[in-house]
């Protein structure tokens, strides 16, 4: 008689594979759900961080550097109507002059396929100086616009600025809207 080998029977193998086939997908499902949640949380934190940074930058420009707004780079027309006129419309480009007549333009721009808010600066002769982006390419910025109004002919204008932060992952699209209103300061 030959040597007897200790081994598993077919039924035992089928049962074992069945149990593993039931447990493993559940474990992986839980594992990937946790990773997905972490990814969403990190994405929101990044959007919030960049959105807050953009908001601070724009507020800083408006409150410390802005002497007046214009409706284009080469014009000096004041784009801010009196409050009693119909609700001002949002303009996608903000033109600013500081007290030294240097120009700043804030607008939405696409850099390497990613939308961001860019700030262009120019000297008093409207010669371009430099540009820098207010956000990184990890998050998208959309719907940038501003509107302004004055409560009377002699008051400083109130500027409302809006933009929306976007981030898309394979799981979901996330959105954080921003909107703030402030009054320009006197120089």
């Amino acid at each position: 008689m030959g040597i007897k080998h200790k081994s598993f029977t077919l039924i035992e193998l089928i049962v074992a594979v069945g149990v593993v086939g039931f447990v493993l997908p559940s474990v992986f499902n839980i594992f990937f759900t946790m990773i997905r949640q972490q990814l969403i949380l990190v994405s929101y934190q990044e959007m919030k961080q960049q959105g807050d940074s953009i908001e601070r930058n724009i507020k800083n420009i408006l409150q410390t550097r802005t002497a007046y707004l214009t409706d284009s780079l080469y014009a000096t027309n004041n784009p801010c109507p009196l409050f009693t006129t119909p609700t001002p419309t949002f303009s996608p480009e903000m033109y600013i002059r500081d007290r030294n007549e240097y120009g700043i333009k804030l607008y939405q721009k696409t850099v390497s396929g990613v939308d961001t808010i860019a700030s262009d600066s120019a000297d008093r002769n409207n010669s371009f100086l430099k540009t820098y982006n207010l956000s990184s390419k990890d998050v998208l910025v959309s719907d940038f616009g501003y509107s302004c109004f004055k409560v009377n002919d002699y008051s400083l204008p109130f500027v409302t600025t809006t933009f929306t932060m976007h981030k898309s992952t394979v799981f979901t699209d996330m959105v954080l809207p921003y909107s703030f209103k402030l009054q320009l300061r006197n120089y």
């Binding site: 759900t33 946790m34 949640q37 703030f180 009054q183």
Partner: protein, 147 residues
């Protein structure tokens, strides 16, 4: 008579008990961890809604102080949408529907101390419910007239 090595019933029972402790603990940890992640995401959204509301209120205050005091004088307002407005005055927070972002309730309580008023105390709340509990973020500030 052949003797086969095997586990006794007691050994198998003890092994299963230890294994089940491990699985129950792991399941509890995973559940708590997932809940905490969801909580953090909602907390971040709620903080953002609160900050945006406070920014808007400050803008309204700067536009016209007298109108601001008259509008808000010792009232509570509910802000249901992304674009705030002074439309809805409420008596209690339960009168404010949960519509913001699908799960949030956002409202602000205004208190005016002196007459004529030079100060308005504002407390903004963004709340949401999860698993029978109510979570809330709060911002408090005092707004003054500039002039």
């Amino acid at each position: 008579m052949s003797i086969k090595k095997s586990f006794s019933l007691i050994e198998v029972l003890i092994f299963i008990t230890i294994l089940s402790f491990f699985f129950v603990t792991s399941a509890a940890i995973i559940t708590v961890s997932m809940h905490q992640n969801t909580l953090k995401i909602n907390m971040l959204k709620a903080s953002h809604y609160n900050e945006q509301l406070l920014d808007w209120i400050k803008g309204e205050k700067d536009t016209n102080w007298n109108d601001f005091v008259l509008t808000t004088s010792d009232k509570t307002f509910c802000f249901k949408t992304d674009e705030p407005s002074w439309l809805e005055v409420i008596l209690t927070k339960d009168d404010c529907d949960i519509t913001l972002g699908g799960i949030f309730r956002r409202y602000a309580v205004f208190k005016t101390d002196t007459v004529p008023s030079t100060q308005v105390q504002v407390t903004t709340y963004t709340e949401w419910e999860d698993g029978g509990n109510t979570y809330s973020t709060k911002l408090y500030t005092v707004l003054n007239i500039w002039e």
